[in-house]
Symmetry: C2
Subunit: 327 residues, 2 copies
């Protein structure tokens, strides 16, 4: 099946998920709780996490129908994290529109996030009628990891001595654990064997790490039309993969400049191009790309053990689109 | 068994719950997430909700041992709501100590609340190994009701035409649904029959409503030594049972004064005594006390169907202490 067919499959399932997501929040009372939550959900998104649930379910011989509610649940969980993270990051825009605490206010955003998480569990439970406690357990484990990852992320912002190993541990919790859980959930709901579920989990985890490093890279490559500000991470003084790699690799003035960024907790907008040049002349972009490829290969290798060739192809295609994406 | 024995039983179980609660958060990493959460948990509290889980479990023939983790879970859930509610209410003190967002900061409090909720599910799952999905389902339902109740509470603060019926609907969601869930959870984990669980649920719900109206009353009766400010609800312009009852019952200047409180979204500290007098001369205190007694009687009547006389006595004693408490 060529890429175009996979894209059609993805888009078709995305539409179905969008419908369930709307239904989960729209027209629900009190509107003061659910309308703000719905505002975030209807602002869109790739719906990558729910699609990973569905593809994983299918790949072990399950039917999409047994995992649609769980698919919606992981997207609700994801959006809960976006709402609360945006508060903590003082972010003003999300997907090109005002963040929830800017559009409404802080109280509304805190509570809408909480409500969204509650509805996530509600939807997860719909697909867990028979002895599927393990799904709720994996979901809860991922939620805990996400909170821990976010705590580490905020802590690293004010710490001087963050290593690449620290960074990898942080993104594994904050980003990769959710993608790992999505693949596991699909595998369990589809009735997969232990071996199959393990392979899917490894795909999710590794693609999650690749995904986050790619996200760091997008901040430098800059695609302003998608609502991303080039160099935003640099301005905020975030200790991304690129930054930490540069800090490790450089000496002299370059290293001093990077250390200055830590000291000042970020740089000015006018300095962004200078730092991008610094990354470029030190080969940091290539290093990041190599790391992304490395984790993507691990992910793809993990699903090589799946039975059906077409399913392997789907995951390979998905991995490919993720590292080629520009938003 | 006399009251003193029940109190000893309560205190004994409270100690065990305190230990599990400490263990659930203390020494866990990252400390930047769990230490703030632990700060709230170790500040104390009556542990009423977990004890209700245990007493309910026992009353249907179950063992405390099968419900300790679930008992800890409901207290973690309760404390999650306290942390986020305190943010939304701009509260500065809780149990006589600085609230979490005051002691640390907003970001820490949002995330510690989220983490606490996640750990609540983790502990609940420990007691739900065998086909106990219904427990997780009831827990999630209560979480949704709590969020909805909080949304209504915040909404009522800025609305003019709140009725007593609206108020009762709100506190049923915000307060009573959790106590109802506690009793149900204990009943289910203890292996109760459908009839028994229904009776326990009715006890929890009705005692929850009585509990909240009593809480409104405590604000007027004032016991400053317990860290409560007399008339705090009046100063914040909260539409409590007492306020709404007074608004219904009064005419002329009294009614105009109450309407002025709505208009001004609260009163000054110097006006508190005047409003307490207003309540007193209109018999509002007695009305509240009658309503509390009414719901308490409903609660006690519900558990009359339980088999064991001693269990009935425990619930009667618990109900009695709740409406006699001064903090």
């Amino acid at each position: 099946m060529p890429g175009k067919k996979f894209q059609q499959l993805y888009d078709g399932e995305k539409k179905k998920i969008d419908k369930i997501l709307s239904r989960s929040l729209q027209f629900r009372e009190p509107v003061s709780l659910y309308n703000p939550a719905y505002y975030i959900i209807k602002n869109g998104g790739k719906r990558l996490r729910p699609v990973m649930v569905l593809f994983s379910c299918k790949s072990v011989g399950g039917r999409y129908n047994s995992a649609y509610n769980a698919a919606a649940a992981v997207e609700l969980l994801h959006n809960f994290t976006l709402i609360h993270d945006d508060i903590m990051d003082n972010a003003e825009k999300r997907r090109g529109l005002p963040t929830l605490h800017v559009k409404y206010d802080l109280n509304t955003a805190v509570l809408a996030g909480d409500g969204m998480l509650a509805v996530a569990y509600e939807y997860l439970l719909k697909d867990c009628k028979n002895k599927k406690n393990i799904v709720i357990s994996e979901f809860t484990k991922a939620l805990i990891e996400i909170c821990e990852g976010q705590a580490l992320d905020k802590k690293f912002e004010v710490e001087r001595n963050v290593t690449i190993a620290d960074y990898l541990r942080m993104i594994q919790k904050k980003t990769a654990s959710m993608l790992e859980m999505c693949c596991k959930t699909g595998g369990i709901l589809g009735g997969g064997t232990e071996k199959e579920i393990k392979a899917l989990a490894s795909f999710g985890k590794n693609i999650g790490i690749a995904f986050q490093i790619h996200d760091d890279l997008l901040d430098i490559k800059g695609y302003e039309e998608f609502g991303k500000t080039t160099g935003g991470d640099l301005m905020e003084g975030k200790k991304t993969f690129l930054f930490l790699r540069a800090l490790n690799k450089t000496r002299g003035k370059d290293k001093a400049d990077l250390e200055r960024m830590i000291e000042n907790k970020g740089i000015k907008r006018t300095e962004v191009n200078y730092f991008i040049d610094l990354y470029k002349r030190n080969g940091i972009i290539e290093d990041a790309e190599a790391e992304i490829l490395n984790y993507t290969k691990k992910a793809v290798k993990a699903v090589d053990t799946l039975k059906n060739e077409n399913d392997k192809e789907v995951f390979r295609w998905l991995a490919g689109t993720l590292i080629k994406r520009n938003k």
